[in-house]
Amino acid sequence: MNLLPGQASSVAPEVDYLLLFLTGLSLFFMALIFLPLAFFAFKYRRGANADRTPPRVTEWKLEVTWTVIPLFLMMGIFTWGASVYFNIERPPADAIEINVVGKQWMWKVQHQEGVREINEIHVPVGRTVRLVMTSQDVIHSLFIPAFRIKQDVVPGKYTTEWFNATKPGNYHLFCSQFCGTDHARMIGRVIVLGESAYESWLASNSSGGTLAVAGAKLFTELGCSGCHGENSKVRAPPLEGVYGKPVPLDGGAFQIADDKYIRDCILQENHVHVAGYEPVMPTFKGHVSEEELMDLIAYIKSLGGGK
């Protein structure tokens, strides 16, 4: 029964050193206060004869020492903690992207290759994996203790979390932000497989096409191709190569066409006014689910642009 869950991701050792240092520091400060406390309580207990002539120590000297020293210690811990936090928050460039949709009391996982899972994430060992997450209803939070990572899954926006699993095995996956009745049952497993085992698992499970293929099918079904298709009569911004590039807006500003931008354009009626086009795009709120949104985004990504 050790103090911390096993280290199974690249950031885990960094976090553990920080945690163990903080524990040590706390034990030191507890000793620094409890030992004198106990000693004084014993030595100067009423009735015990001890030299009680009032001490002539200059107060402010002592006060300054135990203000300045803790302050410097704090700044040290702050910087160390901040650097670890920066590593946890900023994903390396080349990462496998897995979409996760939090729904009241289950996790729906979609791999780019089209494999869909519930409450389980299969990942290869030694590869960087980036989870692009959103929620269908309330705020959840994807917490994998063995990887020492946690990130709230907020409805209405995409939050990301990354890890690089270092040891194959099964690890707990919890929802750590209270989300309702079965918050305690919204748990799952992260299954880290070897490279080859992961490939064969992918092959055996990917029945339907990739997300982009599913997205393309949706693109025509929902009627997007009516305006955004090649031979459409309606003037609508072309989507080829738009993903990740700045889109000029009416009024001079411009904005990156990232996941959230595409999602807002689909869901909110004339969310933005693209330069040179009429804001006539209808809202698809209620017609398209979170998973389908992710398929559409994967399709638009596949049309070229910032892959």
Binding site: R90, A93, A253, D258, K260
Partner: protein, 113 residues
């Protein structure tokens, strides 16, 4: 310390002038400056009212402190909360190459805040 009635009327006239100024300036397109100026004028009006109508000028330092405390704490709330919203796009949580070209990568770009 009782101020002459004429003085109160002069202060009220100044307030009316500032109101007219705010009104007038609203019809001039100064882009993002509009808000700054409108707030400046409102602060001026508020200070005028507090100093003379609410006698803050000739009441003790304690009352003056309390008078400013409310507004100062409001600034803490607005300032620190907006520091979160404003700085959301800065750290490239997405692919680093993507966000180099343009810092703000969230909803509408705050043009005329």
């Amino acid at each position: 310390m009782i101020l002459p009635t004429r003085f109160y009327i002069k202060v009220c006239a100044a307030l009316f002038a500032l109101l007219a100024l705010t009104w007038g300036l609203a019809y001039v397109d100064l882009g993002s400056l509009n808000l700054g100026i409108a707030m400046g004028i409102s602060i001026a009006k508020a200070v005028l009212i507090m100093l003379f109508f609410m006698h803050v000028r000739d009441s003790g330092r304690l009352v003056q402190l309390v008078a400013c405390a409310g507004f100062f704490w409001l600034l803490i709330l607005l300032g620190l909360a907006m520091s979160d919203y404003q700085s959301r796009g800065w750290v490239p949580t997405r692919r680093p190459d993507l966000s180099q070209s343009h810092p703000a990568s969230k909803g509408e770009v705050p043009r005329g805040l």
